[in-house]
Amino acid sequence: MSISFPHVGSFTYVMESICHEMGRTDVVVPNKPTNKTKQLGSRHSPEWMCTPFKMLFGSFIEVLERGAYELVGTLFIDYCRLGYYTPIYEIILEDLGYDFEFLHLNFNNPTGFIQEMKRRTAGLTYWKTFRAFQIGWIKNRFIDIADKCLYSYQAVELEKGTSQRVVNRAHRKIVETKGMRNIRKLRKIIPKMFEDEVEIDKKADPLRVVVVGELYAVVEPSINLDIMTKLNELGVISYTPITFCRWIDVGSRANPFKRPSFKTAIKKAKPYVEYRLGGKTQESIGYSIMYKEKGWDGVIHLYPFTCMPEIITRSIIPQISREYEIPILSLVLDEHTGEAGLKTRLEAFIDLIERKRKVNGDNIK
């Protein structure tokens, strides 16, 4: 009875770690989604369902084909469709005749969440189960750090591909490190790996672009056609503050001495969108403003086709762009988004902010 989960960017490594910590040895690790995955998912999905649903579904079908039985699923009440993913997957998979069982992890109910998790462990106690989850959220921080390093170093690396090689090793290291003491050391080790091994162009003065938008669209390279790397290839540092930490990093949320950045972002977004309405609307708007204030050069906003909250973001973004004089590019993504079109639009956008920086620079002189 193997356990599995869908592929969600580098968060996949966190889920893999949690499953290992749960004492499970029968983990089916999902592959990176390919075009085939996208097709597989959309074939059986409701017609205008949002793209993340379709791609995750493809990923689920693939792991089922590889022998998975228990699938990590979520079930909770939200503003948008996210809380329904699991029930619909269940209905469709039943109709397709698969043999499976979903974990119903309910974020609205922490006790139930841990109970459900415990049931799936290899006989761990509640404390150990909680510990497994905790290791997950802590490792998630280091995965975020590794990605941040990757998309900074990669923009200015001298030899193409070095950063990618380093990050692959970093990811594996994070997954395989055991014991809280060792894990905590990763905070220093990961950046050090990049520092030591990637040779960078010290003279470069790269542009910096922050990527915001719907969570899946931002973190899964196969839906956004690896936009972070594409930016790097244009010599631009890319970064996304939108990661899974808001979801699973219970530790930093509970820490009274640290204010998570998403709270600051939400505060900044209040004059535009005062109340939460699902998705990452407030965060996307808030982070755009925050990073402008930090001196970043541009913002890219990604959202899946028919995504309800992000259409709202997309409609408000022009105002943000005007008022804060920050170039923002909104891109809608679906399973048919083409490589070539995306590239042209990115290049045009980078050209624009490059020119803008030059003009501003001349003015200062």
């Binding site: 409701p46 017609e47 205008w48 369902m49 949002c50 079930l75 009440i77 939200d78 503003y79 948008c80 469709r81 809380g83 329904y84 699991t86 029930p87 619909i88 269940e90 209905i91 469709i92 109709d95 535009y272 969108v273 005062e274 109340y275 939460r276 309405l277 699902g278 998705g279 609307t281 086709f305 028919t306 995504c307 309800m308 909250p309 259409i311 709202i312 997309r314 409609s315 408000i316 022009p318 105002q319 809608v332």
Partner: protein
């Protein structure tokens, strides 16, 4: 300076009685946008965000239709009025999106109300209403009176609209009509159809391409999902092992499941809105449940701004023909989802 504009779209169809009474009692002049017309639609499609659902797009058209005649626009940010279940995120975002996209609109009164996740209760509802009331009058008695009358009107409207189980039973027995009585065509059996969809589609003759009249002309007696007794809907939804947390979508799926089970109608017509998030879910579930239990034929129609009346008419006529022809052939046609 006290003309208040209400766009006739989206949740206006659920709450208009309350809002109109409230503002009128406060001494404001209430201006409701006219019923949807071709002009309103065209304007809407031109200015609204491209990817928005058709219903939300229409809202933009209605705002534009009255913006020059009013001093305020009333666009609540409505999250939920149920303890657990929410509305559509678009209801919450609409006011702010409009303000952002069209800075020269008149001031928008946009109270936020959300009992499910916003911890609003009766008291905060009252205070929010009073705050708005203060914009129009200083007289506290007038304010309270407006508030109470508005609530009363709303409850009355709900009572008039939603039937109880007894009435439903009578309707199922063909003892009464719940809507305009259908044309009786000699020699043809009168059909019973459940018309299921969002209230702002079913009650907007333009947006629904007057499907009610088409059905009436065809001699079909209808019941709408809005009219269904809430207990029956909740009973159906409780049978599921998931919580459909979009309040209005429960109404839709619950109605469909009730009739799939009770088999007291000849057919079900489900109107969906293209690119509507909640509909993509309820629609899929309805289709799959009806395939599993193909007792009553289900026709799912997908509407968007390109929908043409002629296409719709043909589809409906074909569906009704099929229902009249009898059971055997129906099996092939269980769920038909078409873009009309």
């Amino acid at each position: 300076m006290n003309r208040v504009g209400l766009p006739r779209a989206l949740i206006h169809y659920k709450f208009s009685e309350m809002w109109v009474t409230f503002f009128q009692e406060l001494g404001a002049e209430v201006i409701i946008s006219p019923k949807t017309t071709k002009k309103i639609k065209q304007e809407a499609v031109n200015i609204a965000p491209n990817e928005d659902c058709y219903s939300t797009k229409l809202y933009y058209g209605h705002v534009m239709a009255i913006k020059d005649q009013v001093d305020y626009l009333f666009i609540p940010r409505y999250g939920a009025s149920d303890k657990k279940y929410v509305g559509c995120p678009k209801f919450i975002g609409l006011a702010e999106v409009l303000r952002s996209m069209f800075p020269d609109l008149p001031p928008i009164i946009m109270p936020h109300y959300n009992t499910a996740k916003g911890r609003d209760g009766k008291l905060s509802f009252y205070f929010k209403a009073m705050k708005i009331a203060s914009m129009f009058t200083k007289n506290p008695f007038k304010k309270i009176r407006a508030f109470r009358l508005a609530l009363k009107k709303h409850n009355q409207h709900k009572k008039d609209l939603v039937i109880d189980e007894k009435t439903l039973y009578k309707w199922e027995q063909s003892k009464l009509f719940l809507n305009d009585s259908p044309k009786s065509n000699p020699g043809e059996r009168q059909l019973k159809i459940a018309l299921v969809g969002h209230s702002y589609v079913l009650n907007d003759p333009y947006a629904s391409l007057d499907i009610r009249t088409i059905l009436k002309e065809q001699g079909v007696d209808i019941i709408t999902s809005e009219q269904m007794p809430r207990e029956l809907i909740e009973k159906q939804m409780d049978k599921q092992n998931f919580q459909l947390y979009f309040y209005y979508e429960r109404e839709i799926l619950g109605t469909i499941m009730h009739f799939l089970e009770s088999k007291t109608v000849d057919g079900i017509i489900h109107i969906m809105v293209f690119s509507c998030g909640p509909d993509s879910i309820a629609g899929e579930m309805a289709a799959r449940f009806s395939k599993r239990n193909p007792a009553v034929p289900l026709l799912q129609l997908v509407f968007d701004e390109l929908t043409a009346e002629t296409g719709l008419k043909t589809r409906i006529e074909a569906f009704i023909d099929m229902l009249r022809r009898g059971i055997d052939e129906q099996i092939i046609f269980q769920t038909t989802k078409v873009h009309v």
